[in-house]
Assembly symmetry: C2
Homo-oligomer: 286 residues x 2
Amino acid sequence: MTQARLMDGTALARRIVEDTARRAAELTARTGVVPCLATVLVGEDPASVTYVRMKQNRCRKAGITSRHVALPASTSTAELVGTLRELSADPTVHGILLQHPVGDHVDERAAFEAIAPEKDVDGVTFASFATMSFGLPGFVSCTPGGILRLLDEYGVELAGKRAVVVGRSAILGKPVGMLLLARDATVTYCHSRTRDLSAAVREADIVVAAVGRPRLLRGQDIKPGAVVIDAGYNAGNVGDVDFDSAVERASLITPVPGGVGPMTIATLLEQTVTAAEAAAQGLAAA
Amino acid sequence: MTQARLMDGTALARRIVEDTARRAAELTARTGVVPCLATVLVGEDPASVTYVRMKQNRCRKAGITSRHVALPASTSTAELVGTLRELSADPTVHGILLQHPVGDHVDERAAFEAIAPEKDVDGVTFASFATMSFGLPGFVSCTPGGILRLLDEYGVELAGKRAVVVGRSAILGKPVGMLLLARDATVTYCHSRTRDLSAAVREADIVVAAVGRPRLLRGQDIKPGAVVIDAGYNAGNVGDVDFDSAVERASLITPVPGGVGPMTIATLLEQTVTAAEAAAQGLAAA
């Protein structure tokens, strides 16, 4: 049996970041504006600290300044909202990333909504969700946006195709389904309450697994020739798809790691520079 | 063959409006606050004039004041946004309805976004779409909200069921799918680009037709025993479903007229009183 072609997120992300770095350098040379991403971290969760540091390193390499705001774990919703409003109003900040989780005592939604939509380069606000859903201009959630870029890079036709999204999180499953729908796919949302998940997934020309359950989908669930996007992130670099059996059935598949993962940060960096370009243009027009 | 039971939207809407009128009267007696719906109409499109008048009449019967703002067809986006912001800031107005369409020269989205979410009783803002999508408290779009009420009234179980929404408009198809997803249905969005619509619809335990194409769906497209919601509104009181053939296959079906239609205004009135109650409570707490 023919094995699926791998969708190389690492290579595509590298090209996006190189292009982003060129745009950042050009913007700085032309206007003096250095793109700036503000990263906000509440508490000291080790994984979150690592994620934020990784994002800062990538920013630096792409010619993007990062401004880090470290808040104590005891930060209240009102304090966090205040910080995010200040950053939203600060003309030297172009993008804002609130690292989540923010702690159970904080109203995460209130915090997200304190981010100005034009600085929401992580795509977490209601406004960004709605613009994604309605096919309007705006920032996309980074992982869903990265998935669409990967599909486009590999020439996957979306219009009229059956797409099945497994998972319905606010940051991944829901927006990726809406982006696919805006591109004229026929989209089905499956989730933990779906009966006969396997039958539903077997209808899919394009499968997006975004649920965080190791190897939930196996080769037998994949329609021969389908495109399989594994956005799962589980311990031990295991995706939501059992790669070894799915690779025998799919036509295209993302490996884990090296598939969807690298696209997330690339999209974040790209959107930060886009925000900085828009801000610089706004200044020039004012 | 057994015919489907009819889902009587007229009767359910009447009960909702009666209950709403009781709540309005109780609020006015207790606090002196009379619930007020502002209706904003741009231009003099005859259908729009009729719709607005109908809504005003229903308001009056339910103990809701309506304040009508008639703007000339030449109204600019900035002027319309200004009017909607004033109404959003006016403490005597509890709900705002912008009758659409507003004319091609107006940025309808900018206008909708000028409506304060706490007065968005028609459920048209980005914030309302997002709260519907994420299962958070907020106002729903009136027709989708009315459809969910009908399903609940007739005891239709949603969790784990396959729901197919035909149509993906911002005001009807997209939000009704999100409301069904939030209630744990497995939801598929079909639309004009869907290939083999009939096969996709035949998978559905619950079909919502919301596309505005007369008799697009026929009995042969309906899985025996499915629940059929016809939200179509076409000339001559014809729905998106061919009633005569679908009624032979479905277990429950909404007639046109008298099914989904009456639920829309009932939901609008109910949400206006809910907004007034919340505003009065806010005043009492202040």
